[in-house]
Amino acid sequence: MRPALALLLRDLRLALRAGGGAGLGLAFFLTCVLLMPLGIGPDLAMLSRIAPGLLWVAALLAALLSLDRLFQADLEDGTLEVLAVSALPLEAVAAVKALAHWLTTGLPLVLAAPVLGLTLGLPAQAQPWLVASLAAGTPALSFIGAVGAGLTVGVRRGGLLLSVMVLPLYLPSLIFGARTVALAAQELDPARAFLLLGAITVLSLGIGPFAAAAALRINLR
């Protein structure tokens, strides 16, 4: 536990330092969502109808933004090599780094979402479901993203390749996440979509670290 905690704290500290990228995802999320009313026009009925999908697409893109540096900085300065031969299994390294990514990009989105939901005129009964769906769904974005980041870690300017690879894998989370909020907005029961969203997250938490570690091992050869 101790090495994992040390790694988590270091990653959080690095994210908060200059150029670390914490807050970048949140700033992108806010800008992206607040641009929409300007582009679409101030039709509140329409905005509230498209708000669930809009917020979820913005969350997806915000999570992608800092993903390409997840393992790359550690590979470039040799840290990943040292971690790979340390007592901490590479699977745990991948899991800790994905968790740090979620804490610095996913969690701020969850906290900021109610304000944006209000801005877009999301019905009040859908607000708690928006927060719940993002809280349950965004960890999957970090853990699925870690697999893509592990595969593209050795590629120069791998960010674009990473986006193309990872976005299709985000589809289930997007569908059930947006569906949860949309059903709640229509005063229908969102529980089933929400449970499926949670199932995808649980699955990615289980598989993601192992797939990411396997990809990293290949890149470290």
Partner: protein
């Protein structure tokens, strides 16, 4: 405690670099790898560490007569320093100390890093960063040290410090495999000369060797 390498065959980028190498290392022994660039010194170190999986052969570490997981007894210093430029010298070493559950003070002193402790690693010289990278070895008492050209960009005084550090490690019953181009003052160390001609048996991949049939 001992390290045994049996008939190790290693390839890098599809080319066979180490062809059937065997060696044994006991407690308190060091092995110095010498040889020109491209002879396979780094590849051999990576093979022993398990970073590069062998084509055939095996690496066996025994502790108290029983085979042991090599990752739990290994300290690795590759040609990159594993130093974060955004963090200060003390923060960098502090992270690895927390990771290993050790006290960074002794390592800090052994490599003379106290005076630059509060300096961001980004503004350190290459030699200072190298010392910071090597200080990591002192944190956890690992049995086997694998060092890939540890003296690069170090001044004479620092080379002596690092040599003393390795000698102290050996005196405590540790083992070390060191790839180096400069003479290290380790009188009892064994030497292994690697040559590209003896090591490289051509392409490991039959396709690259032109065997298309």
């Amino acid at each position: 405690m001992g390290l045994v390498v049996e008939d190790l065959v290693l390839s890098r980028g599809g080319r066979r670099v180490i062809a059937g190498l065997s060696l044994a290392l006991a407690e308190g022994e060091a092995l110095i790898l010498r040889g020109p660039n491209g002879a396979g010194k780094s590849t051999l170190l990576r093979g022993i560490a398990g970073l590069t999986p062998p084509d055939s052969g095996r690496v066996l570490l025994t502790v108290d007569g029983r085979p042991a997981e090599i990752g739990e007894h290994l300290a690795w210093a590759g040609h990159l320093d594993a130093v974060k430029p955004q963090l200060t010298v003390a923060e960098n070493l502090g992270f690895w100390a927390g990771f290993e559950g050790a006290d960074p003070a002794a390592a800090m002193a052994a490599l003379g890093l106290g005076a630059i402790a509060d300096r961001p690693a980004a503004s350190c010289s290459a030699g200072q960063r190298r010392r910071l990278g090597l200080a990591r070895l002192m944190l956890a008492r690992r049995a086997l040290w694998l060092l890939d050209e540890p003296t690069v960009s170090l001044d004479a005084a620092s080379v002596a410090r690092v040599t003393a550090m390795v000698a102290d490690h050996l005196a405590r019953g540790g083992m070390a495999v060191v790839a180096t181009h400069v003479e290290l003052d380790l009188p009892r160390a064994r030497r292994l000369g690697l040559t590209p001609a003896a090591g490289a048996g051509g392409a490991a991949d039959p396709f690259l060797a032109g065997d298309y049939a």
